[in-house]
Symmetry: C2
Subunit: 369 residues, 2 copies
């Protein structure tokens, strides 16, 4: 599974794996793919340093990358307290009422509330980069818009390729104009923040819009047939996120989340603003239903919504309140039916890919097996 | 582009084209595909007979099929007047107000209001079948659920294959259990009635769920790369509808609709209940916005909504009221940028398919060009 891009990066398979877990990122690279560590949860630079050290020690010299969240729009001089103050009391009450309805216990005094808005702020992302550029990362991906020009230059000075996610051809062209090297075309069916255009339509549109820049297809990919489909559409590789949530190397905070992921079908996700204020695909739960219900107060814009629900989500996760318990994941969740190792996922992907190529050659009347 | 199914049907390319226009259906079959005439607009059996005669005279002996709308749920003894009586006055007023706001003229006295609910009723579909079974159709497709058992038997007695559309693996299994021969897996990005699961995820799920029954992939397909992708996913063919709306052989009632289709991008459609009461993808217009707006009365269930808006849509089309003027179409509309002949579309599909196969072979390290 070799494309120009996989050759440039020196990886065996044009399969890019996004994951918040260092053990998964390292295993993806060791299996012949390209592991990308999501950095948004690292608010302390030392934590990121510790995990990059771990990857260095376990990646067998294979290439890997880092994914940061650096919002395109810079907000100067705004503190978390300023943002907190913008949240209406009615919304806070709705959170309290919903948690009370399900009997969700409080956190212990002084207990950290997990996800904070700070991971989404540019100054934090820049601190992450200060750490990351001391490591031999080969790719820097940005999840929200193009990174600032000085960051792109800094990456290029270090021979680090820069990737950015796009949900439309228009966004992709903006990335190209900002000097990005790789566009990740993220389809409607993907987990996390997504637009409305499905991978089947989006991928070739983005490929044509930014050619000759390489494009990775994201959204709905978790089998070798889907890899073959994405590459047929003109992508130079695939970008998988959801598939790694249930691998044995993953370290999901809650076993109940893993159980829900393994049980969910492709129709059990929803694209909802409940998590961050922007539409993000996730497991559909009674929590997302409450936010998406017309009788509720509705969601707040990013970053208010994320801040509003941060403590609530920590409590729901900690106490495993099943009806409310969710996680960002794509429609491919229907294929995640057992816990397997990263290597087993790769074996399945490469075997399925070869079978799909055999099949397409038979259909095309070529020398298929 | 040969699969087991295309060989069974004796067509050169595993490309199925759904269209309401006899000239397009015949041209698709002549070009080596399989033309399927949509029958929903034929309320008079003689009209259908006339158009099937026309196809017979112009199809050069190539195989073709018919698509009917036979609701899975039978409604006994309900007349159109009964259904009319169920529509709330507030909704009727909303239609009048919206039309008045845009200055949409009335129809002339006695002028027919176009689309009627009758085409969607089982007795009408059965009359269509009485006509169609006198012709050498090779395929009978049903758009809403599985057709009744006696219809399936009647088709099989005449060596006619039966196809049914499905938006989920669960629906597909129901079709298989009802004796259907071919499942059309219709993804989220498709035009007309669609579910929420995208083609990339839906196709392999349905393939695996109903194997060894053949599956056609529908939704988001309009180029050879997308055909290659759909076949990589395990489909035995592709089902295209939207692509034929702007071919030169099409006979769209309004040139303004053609102009809007040619100008629209992949992000200019919406999945809305405004047309029939069930979610159907169509051009997003100020008409769909009005129905989807939270401040409006909202849509009614099928079949009430379709009956409620029938006359309004006829007026909007007749007078080409551009802001309100729409049509069912999929996200592939972004690729429909010029009026071409059916043959030109096929040339493009087959050339693009061959190039995609070349490319996937290079990536797989096989003897690609």
């Amino acid at each position: 599974m070799q494309t120009e891009l996989s050759k440039t990066l020196g990886v065996e398979h044009a399969v890019f794996g996004f994951t918040p877990f260092p053990a998964v990122a390292a295993a993806i690279s060791r299996a012949g793919g390209f592991g990308v560590l999501g950095a948004v949860r690292y608010t302390a630079p030392d934590d990121l340093k510790r995990d990059l050290d771990w990857i260095e020690a376990h990646v067998d010299g294979k290439p890997y990358g880092l994914d940061v969240v650096m919002p395109a729009k810079k907000v100067e001089g705004v503190t978390e307290a300023d943002v907190e103050a913008m949240i209406p009391e009615g919304h806070r009450q709705f959170v309290r009422d919903t948690l009370a309805k399900y009997g969700v216990p409080e956190l212990a005094e002084g207990e950290a509330s997990g996800w904070r808005i700070t991971g989404w702020m540019e100054q934090v992302a820049r601190t992450q980069l200060d750490v990351a550029f001391d490591y031999p990362i080969r790719l820097l991906a940005n999840a929200l818009g193009s990174p600032p020009a000085d960051v792109v230059d800094r990456a290029h000075d270090r021979d680090v390729l820069v990737a950015a996610l796009a949900g439309s051809a228009r966004h992709a062209v903006k990335h190209r104009d900002a000097g990005i090297d790789i566009v990740v075309a993220q389809g409607y069916e993907a987990g996390g923040h997504t637009g409305e255009i499905a991978t089947m339509v989006l991928t070739p549109e983005v490929v044509d819009a930014v050619a000759p820049l390489p494009v990775l297809a994201a959204g709905g990919i978790g089998s070798g047939r889907q890899v073959a489909a994405a590459l047929s559409l003109g992508a130079q590789g695939v970008w998988l996120g959801s598939m790694w949530l249930t691998v044995t190397e993953a370290d999901l905070s809650s076993p109940a989340v893993t159980r829900k992921l393994l049980a969910a079908g492709s129709g059990d996700t929803v694209r909802s603003r409940a998590l961050t204020g922007k539409p993000a695909r996730q497991l559909r739960t009674e929590w997302t239903d409450a936010w998406d219900d017309a009788t509720g107060p509705g969601t707040l814009p990013m970053p208010l919504q994320g801040l509003l629900v941060a403590e609530a989500l920590t409590r729901i996760q900690k106490y495993e309140v099943e009806p409310l318990l969710g996680t960002p994941v794509g429609q491919i969740v229907g294929r995640m039916t057992s816990e397997r190792s990263v290597q087993a996922v790769f074996d399945d992907l490469t075997r399925g890919f070869e079978q799909a190529v055999d099949r397409i050659n038979r259909i095309a009347g070529r020398s298929g097996k």
